[in-house]
């Protein structure tokens, strides 16, 4: 338990050093292409949920929960999406800012805000109260903008 805790505490700060499991040669361009897809997927789940929150899509609790679980799961990948050497120096198209690697604590905090708020979103989906869910959804949205403000290029 203590070991686990220590490990998980150490993770965010050292996230940039994380090597992929199979140590294939890290191709910065491909890492970028992959994380781009991950964020597009995250965006798609948020968009789908927003349609439920706005009453533009049928609201089924089980579906709400599926999206929330997907978001919560994807939030755990974020620490692995930005290995060192995949920043703006190496990848022309990336919108990632160098601050991700110069301010690892700040980035870890922004990541944690997403993980915590999406975990709360799952709980809210399980509760099934749309008003509570809508509040939890807004909080996840704030965690997206909160990270983009400091770690993603502005002119999006």
């Amino acid at each position: 338990m203590t070991l686990l805790l220590a490990l998980s505490l150490a993770l965010p700060a050292s996230a940039g050093d994380d090597a992929p499991a199979a140590s294939i040669q890290l191709d910065a361009q491909k890492v970028y292409a992959y994380r781009h897809e991950v964020f597009e997927g995250i965006g798609a789940h948020m968009k789908a949920l927003s349609m439920m929150v706005k009453g533009e899509a049928p609201v089924r609790q089980v579906d709400m929960k599926s999206h929330a679980i997907a978001l919560q799961a994807m939030s755990t990948t974020v620490p692995h999406l930005f290995p060192k050497g995949t920043g703006p120096d190496a990848v022309k198209d990336t919108e990632a800012l160098a601050t991700i690697w110069t301010d690892p604590e700040g980035f870890a905090a922004a990541t944690k805000a997403f993980q915590d708020s999406s975990a709360a979103l799952v709980t809210a989906a399980e509760g099934g109260d749309m008003k509570v869910f809508s509040g939890a959804f807004r909080n996840v949205g704030k965690s997206c903008g909160g990270c983009h403000d400091n770690f993603r290029k502005d002119d999006h």
Partner: protein, 292 residues
């Protein structure tokens, strides 16, 4: 040309007085009209008064927020009811003068970092509601901070600025527009002052209104082009706007951040769905498309 310049430069002292007779400006009644503080609170939310007048973690409206601009750092002052450090001693005409004319009770010009160039357009009854709300703000005895400016340190130049840039007086309904469009225009231009962050500015820091909402590069953050141009937000539907104004979500599932999330969270998400719809319609149908 030279003459015009001399005339313009000579005006600041007399400027306030001569501008006072501008026709669109109704003279404030000396005694305050009965305003509705609850409605005033809603207006204050959409007008974002708290954002500039509250320091991070500080008491509401007690001042201290640092507003970074190309001219240096402005500090939103204490506007609580404290008689010494806030505006507890103000009268209704003092308030109207500040909001409509950008002038303090002792006759100083305010910097337009205080968005009175937008608030001047507020209707009389909305000003009265705001005044009713402002009077409910709990007093906090906290001194306001001085601004730390690199340019325009002397307020006297602001008289000239106002002559050139301040188009004073309540916004009148345009008879060619239906009620909802007029409402949307009013909310965008007078209350929510979207243009303060989204309209480009000239060298004097005045808004270039013929390019309204075409995007501004100025700090603290560039505000993007939000006009219905095909290369800007021309493809946005009423549902896209409703989702943005209520949730802060963009059509691709991304979210706005920074200043804009504050505008949404404390402003456009709090107002009625009817008012959001009016804002959306004005932005889709009323605003001129501008190329990025």
């Amino acid at each position: 040309m030279l003459l015009a310049l001399v005339a313009a430069l000579a005006v600041p002292v007399a400027g306030a007085a001569s501008a006072d007779s501008a026709p669109a400006d109704s003279a404030p009644a000396v005694s305050a009209p009965a305003g509705d503080a609850a409605r005033g609170a809603e207006l204050a939310a959409l007008a974002n008064c708290a954002s500039c007048h509250t320091a991070a973690g500080g008491a509401p409206y007690a001042g201290g927020y640092a507003l970074e601009t190309p001219y240096g750092v402005f500090h939103g002052p204490n506007i609580t009811q404290d008689p010494d450090h806030g505006i507890g001693g103000w009268t209704w005409p003092d308030f109207v003068d500040a909001m409509r004319r950008g002038r303090s009770p002792d006759g100083r010009h305010y910097y337009p970092a205080f968005p009175y160039p937008s608030y001047t357009k507020l209707h009389d009854d909305d000003l009265a509601d705001l005044w009713a709300f402002v009077q409910t703000i709990a007093p906090v005895a906290q001194p306001s901070l001085d601004h730390a400016l690199t340019r325009y340190r002397r307020r006297s130049v602001l008289g000239l600025w106002k002559l050139l840039e301040l188009d004073r007086g309540a916004l009148r309904d345009d008879p060619r527009l239906d009620a909802e469009l007029n409402r949307g225009r009013y909310l965008v231009e007078a209350v929510a002052h979207c243009g303060e962050c989204h309209t480009p500015r000239n060298g004097r820091g005045g808004r270039i209104d013929r390019k309204a909402l075409a995007g501004s590069e100025l700090p603290p953050e560039p505000g993007p082009n939000i006009t219905p141009h095909e290369d800007a937000l021309g493809g946005w539907t009423a549902d896209d706007w409703e989702a943005l104004l209520d949730l802060g979500i963009l059509p691709d599932g991304d979210f706005v951040g920074g200043e804009m999330m504050g505008v949404v969270e404390h402003g456009t998400a709090v107002i009625s769905a009817e008012d959001r719809r009016a804002i959306a319609r004005w932005l889709m149908e009323g605003v001129a498309p501008q190329p990025p």
